[in-house]
């Protein structure tokens, strides 16, 4: 996949900056706490949540274990329904395919539904380089795009911006992108939404090409599903002549019936609603309703490398609900940018180092960007065992071992020049600077130890062996830290 930006700081450095940013922390805390409380209530409404979650996990495991079968089936169904399927092994290939398809239509601009896959491959930049302008149409993405910013949360990407900042961005930037913001724009959310509505409506009505991702693809029927709230998705999916969807290969589910599980799990885990305001489902092309041409680009970009790891594979079950972000004490303080990728929070900590490998400083430090408190596992609707994957990845960073990179089996050496140990130590120090994160972590490390008696000693020992402070261990690290540093914070 397209790697991290050159010079992207490792997690602890990036997190330290974020923690100093009072506005960001305030916004994040407010947001994650609000969503967290609502989610718990939405989930409690269904007394079969445990069974739904088990089914969601099992359906995804079945799919992943037979992914070739389901992808071929999906391709056949989509083709039979009038769509065209393309396969992209990496970001460059996907960008080439999409850019080619857009240029073949003769259009010079596209409207986009928020999609993590297209962010992951840097599609907007690739289109730009070919003279095609991509307009993000999700309100938060619009805020991010106009502010020349990066998204910081899977679900609410502009969560780090408050209303005053958004007003300023709209007033300053909208004119350069199309319809200017109305004079005297206030910072009332309703007025800001109205400004976005007017600004974007103009683009929807003239757009010839729409680009989307998808939440689910049904192998049996060839149906794609996009779940959203604002209606910008519906605009992009139904008004243009040509629709191009770029979707990770892990998003396939076997049957139509399987949607009954995920359409219950996703909205409640995500926005804490019984159902999100809009869901669009389409199967190929339909006569007279919606785009006349439909292209599906199936994206690998590191997913098969992740699939090859029997422990790490489960990260591909993720349905991107972002519940794990909202309960993560580390995320709440560090913010999404610190993770150095489009996948922030706990899922980013386990997915990015698998998609990209652990070669860069940020990717080597991500498995340490967690207190192992396990709160993420408790809320995850597909029951991803985060502590298990995190510890497995730490082991790989520290000890090296077998892994698959770009489809080739390789033997990774322990990260060079003590980079791993430095990353680990810095992450540990960072956690120590944030007592609540640490307390949560310590409580649950012991819990994890009970759950994984055979696992922890390995990486745990490696970490102790490698660290530069051999005199510490007899005393709990935290106590030592406090004693030697005083109560710095």
């Amino acid at each position: 996949m397209s790697g991290t930006q050159p010079g992207t700081p490792a997690f602890p450095e990036a997190a330290r900056d974020a923690v100093r940013d009072g506005t960001l922390r305030g916004n994040l805390r407010h947001a994650t706490r609000t969503i967290r409380g609502k989610r718990a209530r939405a989930v409690a409404e269904l007394d079969d949540w445990a069974e739904l979650r088990a089914a969601g996990k099992a359906i995804k495991d079945r799919t992943l274990r037979h992914l070739d079968h389901y992808l071929v089936r999906l391709e056949r169904s989509v083709t039979a329904a009038g769509g065209t399927v393309h396969w992209a092994a990496d970001a460059a290939e996907a960008n080439r395919i999409v850019t080619g398809l857009v240029k073949a239509t003769g259009e010079r601009e596209v409207v986009k539904v928020k999609s993590m896959a297209t962010q992951e491959i840097g599609l907007n930049e690739a289109l730009e380089a070919e003279g095609v302008r991509a307009y993000e149409t999700d309100l938060a993405e619009l805020i991010v795009q106009l502010g020349r910013d990066r998204p910081s949360h899977t679900l609410v990407p502009a969560i780090h911006r408050n209303r005053g900042e958004i007003r300023d961005v709209f007033a300053r930037e909208m004119a350069a992108w199309g319809r200017p913001a109305p004079d005297g724009l206030t910072d009332r959310p309703a007025d800001l939404a109205e400004a976005a509505r007017l600004h974007l409506r103009e683009k929807f009505l003239r757009a010839g090409v729409g680009i989307s991702g998808a939440n689910f693809m049904v192998a049996e029927t060839g149906t794609l599903v996009v779940v959203e709230s604002e209606g910008n998705g519906r605009m992009c999916l139904t008004l243009p002549e040509t629709l191009i969807s770029v979707v990770g290969i892990e998003k396939v589910v076997p049957t139509w019936r399987d949607l009954e599980v995920f359409l219950q799990l996703l909205p409640r885990s995500s926005t804490a609603e019984r159902m999100n305001p809009y869901t669009t489902m389409w199967t190929g092309t339909a006569d007279g309703d919606g785009p006349r041409a439909f292209h599906l680009v199936l994206l690998d970009n590191g997913r098969t490398d992740t699939l090859a790891d029997e422990v790490g594979r489960q990260a591909l079950r993720c349905i991107r609900c972002s519940a794990c972000l909202n309960v993560c004490p580390v995320y709440e303080r560090a913010g999404g940018h610190a993770y150095g990728s489009v996948y922030p929070g706990p899922i980013g900590a386990i997915l990015s180092p698998q998609l990209r490998g652990t070669g860069s400083a940020v990717d080597a430090s991500l498995p340490y960007a967690s207190s192992l408190c396990g709160a993420c596992t408790d809320v995850c609707p597909v029951a991803i065992d985060f502590p298990e994957v995190l510890i497995h990845l730490r082991e790989r960073v520290v000890q090296g071992g077998e892994a698959t990179r770009n489809g080739v089996r390789v033997r990774l050496r322990p990260a060079k020049g003590h980079a791993a140990e430095r990353a680990a130590m810095r992450a540990a120090r960072w956690a120590l600077d944030h007592p609540a994160a640490l307390r949560a972590g310590q409580r649950l490390v012991s819990r994890t130890r009970r759950l994984h008696p055979a696992r922890l000693p390995g990486p745990g020992r490696a970490w102790t062996d490698a660290r530069e402070l051999p005199e510490v261990p007899p005393e709990p690290f935290r106590d030592w830290w406090r004693r030697t540093r005083g109560d710095a914070r």
Partner: protein, 227 residues
């Protein structure tokens, strides 16, 4: 293109070297002991739950018997000051018989720009889900293309009760045909992107009104599609 296909599929197969050769997808167990619906309800209680959940997500809910429908639709459109109303093919003619607003048909040739200039739209639906407060449109009679329930700022959706109402998401999927383009609507368009404060109507209709049309006995031709 086929090059990418072969490469990706080969990688998938190599990645799954640990999966025993003889294993079939169906061998990976999926326990479906989750519920088909949550709670026991009479048909009337299910309709009441639909109404309550729609209202909680800020749809405006009305109930009427058959003969009250034309008058109600007239009132709802007049209250909005709607000068024009979009009407999908197959909408029973008597539904909008009393409406003052100019009727605009959903024609294949109409452009999005023309349709977005219309004030209101009236549609039926395919099925409504009580537990989630969701309306599903499938492009069938009285529902029209997906864009018509999107572009006007005011959507009035008529649901025949109790026969178009199901309790749950699993029951709804059972009734739907995946080959049709489907739109699931739960409340009006909304965003919480600005400081998590909910704002209705960013792009879709800012006002969603739902008419629960009481139909006694089995649906007849007058209310089922064609009209």
């Amino acid at each position: 293109m086929s090059d990418g296909r072969d490469r990706v599929l080969a990688r998938v197969r190599r990645a799954l070297a640990d999966v025993p050769r003889g294993e079939r997808p169906g061998d990976v167990p999926v326990d479906r002991s989750y519920r088909r619906a949550h709670g026991e309800r009479t048909a009337e209680e299910t309709v009441a739950l639909l109404a309550a959940n729609l209202a909680e997500y800020r749809a405006v809910v009305h109930r009427t018997a058959q003969d009250g429908l034309p008058g109600l639709l007239r009132t709802l459109l007049a209250r909005r000051g709607a000068a024009s109303v979009l009407v999908p093919a197959g909408l029973p003619a008597h539904w909008t018989a009393a409406v003052d607003a100019r009727r605009v048909d959903d024609l294949a040739a109409s452009t999005a720009r023309e349709l977005e200039a219309v004030d209101s739209v009236v549609t039926g639906c395919a099925v409504a889900v009580a537990e989630t407060g969701t309306l599903v449109l499938d492009g069938g009679p009285a529902q029209g293309r997906r864009r018509i329930s999107l572009l006007p700022d005011h959507h009035v959706c008529v649901v025949r009760v109790p026969d178009q109402v199901v309790a749950s998401v699993p029951e709804a999927l059972e009734r739907l045909d995946p080959r049709r383009p489907l739109t699931w609507i739960s409340g009006p368009s909304a965003t919480s992107d600005i400081e998590l404060e909910r704002v209705e109507g960013v792009h879709g209709p800012r006002t969603l009104e739902v008419v629960l049309l009481e139909v006694s006995g089995t649906p007849d031709a007058a209310t089922h599609g064609g009209g």
